[in-house]
Structures are given as structure tokens and as C-alpha cells.
Symmetry: C2
Subunit: 396 residues, 2 copies
Amino acid sequence: MNPAGIGAATVRGDLGEHEERQLAWAYLSRVVLGPCPALTALIDSVGVCEAARAVRERALPPVLRTVTERRRELDTAARDLETIRTRGGRLVTPDDAEWPAWRMLGLAQLTPGRDPDGALPLVFWVRGHRNLSELTEHALAVVGARCSTGYGDRVAGEITGELAARGWTIVSGAAFGIDGTAHRAALTVGGATIAVMACGADRAYPTQHERLIARIAETGLVISEYPPGTFARKHHFLARNRLIAALADGVLVVEAGMRSGARNTVKWARRIGRPALAVPGSVESAASAGCHRMIRDGEAVLVTGTAEVLAETAPSRLPLSTGSKSSEVDRPGGPEARILAALPATGGRWPHDISAMTGLEAAEVRAALVALDMSGAAARGEAGWFRLDRAGEGGE
Amino acid sequence: MNPAGIGAATVRGDLGEHEERQLAWAYLSRVVLGPCPALTALIDSVGVCEAARAVRERALPPVLRTVTERRRELDTAARDLETIRTRGGRLVTPDDAEWPAWRMLGLAQLTPGRDPDGALPLVFWVRGHRNLSELTEHALAVVGARCSTGYGDRVAGEITGELAARGWTIVSGAAFGIDGTAHRAALTVGGATIAVMACGADRAYPTQHERLIARIAETGLVISEYPPGTFARKHHFLARNRLIAALADGVLVVEAGMRSGARNTVKWARRIGRPALAVPGSVESAASAGCHRMIRDGEAVLVTGTAEVLAETAPSRLPLSTGSKSSEVDRPGGPEARILAALPATGGRWPHDISAMTGLEAAEVRAALVALDMSGAAARGEAGWFRLDRAGEGGE
């Protein structure tokens, strides 16, 4: 194969600058197959087209020559771009407006020498119609055990569904177990979800999730830093985890065995300054052992439900309840004050009944209850919601 | 009634000094019915006999006159001492060698003005033959929900039984639920347990636990700072909780509702510098909500089993495993090294099988596994114990 593709095209002069750059990015993505700090540094310094030419002509420092040697003659850029296009996708590069630049800041601030595997992604191969940058504006990563239990699936489904319904994008890895549950819960409520793949964005891994992944691409995004056709390899999963952490406001782990990959995602979250949250469970369940270990070791904060996830992840990013300000609780006649007045101090009352008592919509009641929970004014017990009077400790 | 009891006895000269002082302590215990910092200060300054005389003769500063006025003429000291003796008990005072002075240091260091309810106990009315000071040398307080679940009872029973079998004394409050389970588990393994009562030590509260409390007195201790016959009152429970915390090396909470009294015991533990531990559970269980809240708020450390309780409570107080030093893991041929060699890296193996493979006693295997767990060399999963290789993060 004559590795002249881009250079020749430029000479022909029939390519726009954008297309030329796209070809250069695609070519380099195929050559390095994943993150490559040395190449990113070269692109930063000479531009992507010049970098592609240097790689092709081996006009490189030794370290880059080594990592590019094996595939530098393999210029499938045009074909790769065509492949992703036929799958309803595109190549998103740092040239594009939708490149999630601010999401990548955490990775950008890591020291390449000290964190070679924490490198910035070169590009994102993307399937789906949504804008990657917009879709990750309010996002939560939800990951966990592949061998999840019914408990984990229920909790992941509930929290994920509630957040997705509130406009949060759910980012996960399309794996069996908690990942799949999180994507499905987001889809069920008509919310947005992003699957970050360890294989090419045109492939399905695990293959049993082919339909799920196709559904995600329909309303959300399926993305990968690997070019089309790439098979999932073991080290891809670890690299992929850094992107899951980087693309979200926080990482929630619902069930994780003692040696779960979720812990790796949490490690990334902490390295790039994102909150890491974990749901506790029975100490008799091996599927919760990793969560407990992370909470115990201070790697993750214990959360028991949506309100606490919101409190930890972005306390001031989204309004706490529809159409109300946080001072609502103190304003007589506001929905939260009315709901608070309808709550018993002992026992409990369910949203349906509160709605009937106050004449407020059920959705408004639920949103206000979350805000009241977060502000410590109310809590949910076995018998429903109750008012919390902070004066005494009470009881035995 | 002529309030001349002790004074008259002293005049008669037929009482030894010890008995005279016992009568003075007993008299004052009845007068104040619980902790009284002002009285403790007076005793410290003039001695217990002089303090008793001053109370009886109203030769007191106004604050003490007020709190002693109501019962100062009620001298039932001799009868109270007789009552506790007929129940196989005695009065333990700061005069006695078995007074747990070092256990009371935490309370002694609180500022009486700022922590009026954190006062030192005047005395302990005690049922049982064991020495109070010796019995609290290695002690864990185990408290929790009165409405415990099967899960909570299993976990409390397992941890408590294992610690009691290792020689730890279990301190609790004889209440329904976790308290009762903890006492019973200690008794079952032939271990020591102490019930700290909110009523007189001669009474049973709750009455349904009369047999349990009697069994505790047979092999352990039933103690109270209230004189015989005292009924349990609401404020006694809160005051009693400080003694549960003070008498142990740490407080373990197994299940607690959002407004559980266990949180009050944890508050005391923290104020007097004892570790507070809590067992997580399902976020769907109201009985674990208080534990989660305490872990989340940093009031208690998450623990999942005996090894972690030991690690948090007294890492260097007791040998980690029977007959082995902590360097055993590294010593080839030592029991822990042999057990480690018998553990699989994936899956798991149960103590019974490890015992068969290594030729070690089951008890020795279990003790060594705890040590290996604590040192991070092994962990228990759903399929049994496995070896932990700390090199890689592994997996997805």
C-alpha cells in the first residue's frame, strides 16, 4: 500500500481543509490505536496534518518512531470515516465545536510522564445524532459489577432512572450487570445515555448487548477512542474507564466485587477530581464488598439514593425542585413549606397521599421531597416520608 | 424518718471505715439518682463521708441544695446495700480496686460546665461475680435497632460471637433487637458480657428480658448507676449510653433507624475518643438508614466483619491469631503462610477445606484467615476465601 493518501489528496487540492484534517486524525487514530501522549504532544506542537506527514515519513523522535512503526503504512483513514458514516456516526476531533474540551481538562492536567495511561484521547469515533459536548454537560457515570444482584439492579435502575428523568446523561460502559441496567433505565425514562466502548464504536461488546447498544445510538451516543472495527482488548477497558470518569460530573458505583473494574474507574475519578460515590449493601453479599472497601478506604462516599447522589455530585448545578428556589422551604405557602406541613413527625406519608393533601402534582411533590431530604428537613422511612425535627436526639 | 443513718452509725463506732463509706456512697446515689457533677466535685474536695453529712445537713452551696433537697432525707442506704447483696451483687465505688478508673478517663476529661450530662457516674450497682475493671479491659460495645431484621441479627451475632470467643467482653444495653442478640451471642460462645441498665441493677428492663438479664449476671455483669429498685426513665437511657461507650474500646452499631438511640451512644463514643463503627446494609432497609447516615456524616467508620472491627478498635491490643506473631505471614512454614498457599487466586475455599489441606485445626485456620484478611493478603468472597494479589487492578 502506498502511504500517500493524505499528502496526495492535498496535492490534488480537491479536499477541503476540514476533510484533510479529518483524514489526518483518522489516520493517526488507526496508527496508535488508543491514547498516545507523545503523539498528542507532537500534534499540539506542529498541527495534525504536519504530525500525520511526520509519522508517515518517519521524521520522528525515536520514542514516536517505535510506537508508530507497526501501523504507519496502514492508511485506512478514508475507509474508516466511511465506515463510521454508514453506521450513522462521525469522527469528533479537537477541531470540532462538539469536542468536550472542558470535560478533558482533568486528563489534560495529569502529568504525561507520571500518568502515561492517563493521556488525552486523540479523537472520539461517535455513533448517534446528539452533540457530545452538550450531552455531557450534566452527566453521571454509573458503573458496577458485571455479576450484579437483583438488589444492585433495582438500586441502579431507580437512581439512574430518576437522574435521567431530571435531565442528567448517564455514562457507562455497556457491560453486563450494572452498566447495562444503567443504560436501560435511562432509555426507559426517555433520558440520554452514552456508552463508552473498549472496542470500535461500530462494534458491540459484549455481543449480547448488540440491540441495547443500537438503542443507545438511536437516542444517545456510542463512542470510542478506537477506530472502527477495533476488537476489545484487556488494556482497552482500563483506558476506557478514564473516559467514563472524565465525561461525567461524578462516578457512582452500584455493587462491585473486591476486584471489580469499577474500582479502576473510581481511581480515575479521584485522579481527575471527580466525586466517587458508592452504594452500600449487605455485608453478606460479595457483590457489595468492593463498594464497602472503597467507602472504608475513603475512595468513595457512601450514598443511599438519588438525593445524596445529587448532593455529592453537583449541589448547585441543577435546581433542586421544579420551579422552586432553594429558599422555598422558608417561604410560607411555597410547595416545600406546604409539603413539610403535610408530613408527620413520626410514621410516614407517601407522595401520593401528600399530593392529595396539598393539591400539588405528584412530580412536584417528589421533586420537593428530594430538596427537603437534601436540606435535612425531611427523610424517608419504611412508612413513607416524615418531618425531621433537628432539636433533640430522642429515643433510647 | 430520721435522716441520721450514717452519722449515727459513725457515732456508734461499730462500723468499719469501708462500710461507713459504702453507706455514704449508697446514700448519695439514692439522693441524686444518677450523675451529678456538682456532687462529684464536692466529694472530690471533702471526701464522700463529709459530702454525705453536708447533704444531709443542707450545708451546701445553692445549686447542690436544690438538686438534693427532694430526697436528702431518704436514707435507704443500708437497705439498698442489702438488696443488691441478696441479688448476688455489690456496690462498686471509686474507693474499690475494681472501680474502672481508666475507663472513666474519657468522661472525666469532659468539661462539666459544657457537658453536664457527661458527668462521671457516682457509683456502679453491680450484679455478678466478675471484676468490673478486669472485665472491661478488652471490651466492645454492640448496640443497634430494637426492631432489628434477620440480617442485623445474623451480622451482630456473628461478629459478637467471634469477638467474645477471642476474649473480648461485649457491652450492651439489654434492649430488644441488636442489644439482646449481642448479649446472647456472647453467652452462647461462653464469652463475657455486661448489661448496662437504665433501671436498677436488680430490675429487668425490658421485663421480657428478665431471663436473659439473669443469665448475664451469672457469668458476666449487670450494672447500673441507679440504686436498686429504680425504674427506667427516658433520660436514664441517654445517660446510660455514655456508660456503654465509656466502658468499651469502641462502639459497634449493627442496624439503626434514622432516629435510633444508637446514634446517641455513637455521639458519646466520639466525645470521649472511642472509635465508632457501623455495619452497612441494604439501602432499601430502614433498619440500616441510621448506619448509612452515620458513615456518610463521618460519625462512624464502615465495618463489614470481625477483622475490620478488630482493625479499628484495637489494632495492637490482642494477638491477631492464636499462637502466631504478626510477622507470621512472611515466615515460610508458619500457619498463615501455609494457609495462604492453600488459597486460590480466583473462586474461593472454605475454612473446613483449608483445614483438611493444611492439616491445621479449624479454629487456627479461622484465626489466621482473620489475620490474613486484616493484612490485606486474603479476602472472603461468595465462594469462600481467596488470595489477594496486590500487583494489578485487573479486569474491566
